[in-house]
Symmetry: C2
Subunit: 543 residues, 2 copies
């Protein structure tokens, strides 16, 4: 089982240090500290374990070090920044492992960009040596890229020419869509195994600047100084500690404080339950700060995030999760009110941004989700997003048993999807006014009004309820898992496209395809034959 | 070898009739008139041959029947509109065949929408019976959908539940992005093998209306009448005849009047040469109309279209085409001037729209393209688009040999890509002003100024030229064909996304993946087992 919790004291591969407004995240991958056997992490190449630490560091910087304004990512190895995802790890992994690995690394890169865009933590890649493949893709997720000019160091995306696959962590998309490199140059670059050295790399916009070895540290430091000087101080911010999550694990359950994951492996589905906040939570940011990571919105969403990652990586055969909530609608709404009122406070802002990221992780999870709304549930405000993220929503229609949902201001923009829309806007693409109306709605929605407002998919009555839910679960769990993944990826993200949706929707899909093809993974495939004396032999039919 | 030329007199599966402003395109697929053996086209199911006729009809309606304002698509079979792509054809086809089939059918659907949007030919799907799978996808490519309510007729997308693949012709994307059907309803619909009948289908926005059998013809006729009445008459338009292309075919060449396709199969590349217009072409629309399909812009691009389709479908092992032109730059530019000056004339407008579609077919072709610019070439105006569509552009740098390219007003918007941008805008995403500057540039660009303006990728000098081109071709032709397809699809379409780019970039990629997976095509796959007494057995790991 792979676990996603770690902390700087436990890192094997990264050193996280902060000095006032500047944090340094230095990569120093330990060859033998791998997640699985059969490969060594040479030249700062990485596997999922390395990326879990990076994701943790990026997250902690936001909560534990809100005073940080600039994060420099560099390497402690001489002459190499990072060689990207480990090829032997990839070629020895099963297809689902490769796909889940790429998805997580992509989410981490998007989290870096999210921190930069929304938390004002500016990321600088200080490439003290060659950055190839995923190494360059890590750099291009940063705001600025500086390369040492030691006569050897290069940036490269050698996946196409050497491995017969695509750069798997958004490299192609970020080349042309983020850095807006000319497409013919991107074509040359992405087919050139050895990549480009400093001068040409700068000319083509692949890096921002380069410096000779003797001046590199100094020049990067000068740039960091500039960045610090030109942004407002944040000294007054006091970080909070992210403690390990409390979770009881049994064979088929993970019981967190506010989240439960209960597996029914035989039927290939799970119940994913979020319990609403306890009453009487503080409404003042200073008191919330004192609560720290025990504050329900942060704790519950951290738990939900962990449960989602667990489901994805450790429970591949679970095809469907039923999203359920338990608690009091009014209490959820009062928490939302606090969050909305104080969203300018750094901690509240970070908490909301975190909730948004977790909900996007849900949108991007290749499992079906059905929301199940029953008496005693609290799909309100931020938790209503669970129902809006679900592929379908079932709500009991029973006049004898009060069943309600409710909106809050948080449904109007604080928790955007990867496509930049709210889940209500995505839902009501045909009638944008409805997204506004349901947020403005006074009081909660009972089953009838929720149905009328278009907020639910089906409203079976009490007599049919159990059967209908059971049959829906059974039917869903019986369908082709691949077809469902492709279908859900297509239906969940209507409307506009962003860098993120292009990476997860388009690039991921192409890569999934290529990762299946004999030209990559067959006996004569390029990935299979990498590092061997044998040469790949391709079936050259173009499709 | 599959040929793409046909005409209404030769159709096996469609009847095209026109009556003033209304055209009827009636589907009546002949079971045994298949492109390959091993399947029967029952229930108006189709293979590529059926779709080639549909594409031809849509094209002819624009050139031969410009008086037509409304096109009704219906079926001549009782109680069935169309059952979609033939499953046995799909399950017995190799992967490249499936992918190329889907791409062509997608281009045909996009051509229907292009005719509606840009030529004012409004498409009405009159579903006189069930439309399932590709049948409903054909309907949803139309502007309006009417379903007979005979107690049985339904619309459906049964691909996910029955076949373990996605609807392959844009159905999912058009559901949520074109008709903006609520995503949870789209989820239910796309997993319901039997689909939805009239009432629910209308309620969910899957169709526009329904009528009982006894009133169906009458109600549809009334709607057609309304559509005709509310749009301006076009009686004054006189169509032109699209004659068969003149082409000499040998083992490794296709020599058209203005286009040559010359194959080097051993090296897996082809030269695709377009010869510029002859001098002295008319500048007056009436005279151009007399020339009809012999007018260079129409003839050359029809030939180019045919050559591209031939390359795709009949020459799978050719991985790279070198785009070359021969002719006089000034003559190309004078043709462009005529086209730009008279773009309000229906025929000139149709010609430009056709050129744009052919260039988009090039953008969407899964082959690498290198433009090769040498003395005697005429990459100017509309033909410069070939160089801009290419993955790379090589231009000879030889002061002794005049080598030039030039822009015209047509580069500024008349020939958009699928993403809605011009190729210059896509090229200069980082510097939008450059796209404007190069069009405004006076006179042609020599190699130096072209390079400076960012219009070319490389400018080898005369000494290196032959070697550099040879090596570039050899290198490209040696790379993994799958990785190149995914890479080119990612790099060619930076910037905004549209319905078209979502279908070709996202949906196609997912479908390519799913079409490779054992869950679809393996021994126990759903596609393999369709129609057999055996049941599919899935590997339920979700990825």
């Amino acid at each position: 089982m792979i676990t996603f919790e770690t902390s700087p004291a436990e890192y094997h591969h990264w050193k996280l240090t902060t000095e006032g407004p500047v944090a340094t995240l230095a990569m120093d991958v330990q060859e033998d500290e791998t997640l699985a056997g059969g490969y060594k992490l040479k030249l700062n190449s990485y596997d999922l374990g390395v990326d879990i630490e990076l994701a943790d560091a990026v997250q902690r910087l936001r909560f534990e070090h809100p005073e940080v304004k600039v994060v420099v990512i560099t390497s402690l190895k001489p002459r190499i920044f990072c060689a990207g995802a480990n090829i032997y790890m990839l070629s020895s992994s099963a297809h689902p492992t490769k796909v889940n690995f790429c998805k997580f690394t992509n989410e981490t890169r998007c989290a870096i960009e999210d921190a930069s865009r929304n938390s004002g933590q500016h990321f600088v890649a200080a490439l003290n040596g060659t950055a190839s493949g995923g190494g360059y893709e890590l750099a291009i997720a940063c705001d600025e890229i500086y390369l040492v000019d030691d006569g050897k160091a290069a940036v490269s995306l050698p996946e196409v020419p050497l491995l017969g696959v695509l750069p798997g962590t958004g490299g192609l998309t970020r080349l042309v869509d983020k850095r807006k490199v000319r497409r013919d140059r991107a074509d040359v670059f992405a087919t050139l195994a050895e990549g480009l050295r400093a001068k040409r790399a700068k000319e083509w916009g692949l890096i921002d600047d380069y410096f000779p070895t003797s001046k590199f540290q100094e020049a990067v430091a000068a740039r960091l100084g500039q960045l610090v000087e030109t942004t407002r101080p944040r000294n007054e911010r006091q970080g909070i500690k992210l403690s390990p999550l409390e979770v009881e694990v049994t064979a088929d359950r993970r019981e967190y404080r506010s989240v439960s994951l209960r597996l029914n492996r035989e039927k290939r589905y799970a119940d994913l339950i979020v319990r609403g906040p306890e009453p009487g939570l503080p409404t003042d940011p200073a008191e919330i700060q004192k609560l720290g990571d025990a504050y329900w919105p942060l704790r519950a969403y951290r738990e939900l995030d962990d449960a989602l990652l667990h489901l994805r990586i450790n429970e591949p055969e679970i095809g469907l999760a039923c999203l359920r909530t338990e608690g009091d609608i009014a209490t959820v709404l009062s928490v939302d009110e606090t969050l909305a009122a104080h969203r300018d406070h750094w901690l509240i802002r970070e908490t909301l941004l975190h909730m948004a990221r977790v909900l996007r992780r849900l949108d991007l999870t290749a499992k079906s989700f059905f929301a199940v709304i029953e008496p005693g549930s609290c799909f309100a405000g931020n938790l209503l997003e669970l129902a809006l993220a679900a592929d379908r929503t079932y709500m009991l229609n029973d006049p004898q048993a009060k069943t309600e949902i409710a909106t809050s201001n948080l449904n109007a923009g604080a928790l955007p999807m990867s496509n930049g829309l709210t889940r209500l806007q995505s839902r009501f693409l045909a009638h944008p006014e409805k997204a506004v109306e349901v947020v403005a709605h006074q009081g909660s929605f009972d089953t009838g009004t929720a149905d009328e407002a278009g907020l639910i998919t089906a409203a079976p009555d009490a007599l049919d309820w159990d059967d209908e839910i059971r049959v829906a679960i059974e039917e869903r769990a019986s369908l082709s898992p691949d077809a469902l993944t492709g279908m859900e990826a297509s239906l969940r993200f209507a409307g506009p496209e962003t860098l993120d949706t292009k990476i997860f929707g388009r690039l991921t899909a192409w890569q999934n395809w290529i990762f299946q093809r004999p030209n990559a993974v067959g006996e004569n495939g390029a990935l299979t034959n990498y590092g061997k004396p044998t040469q790949p032999k391709f079936d050259y039919r173009r499709t």
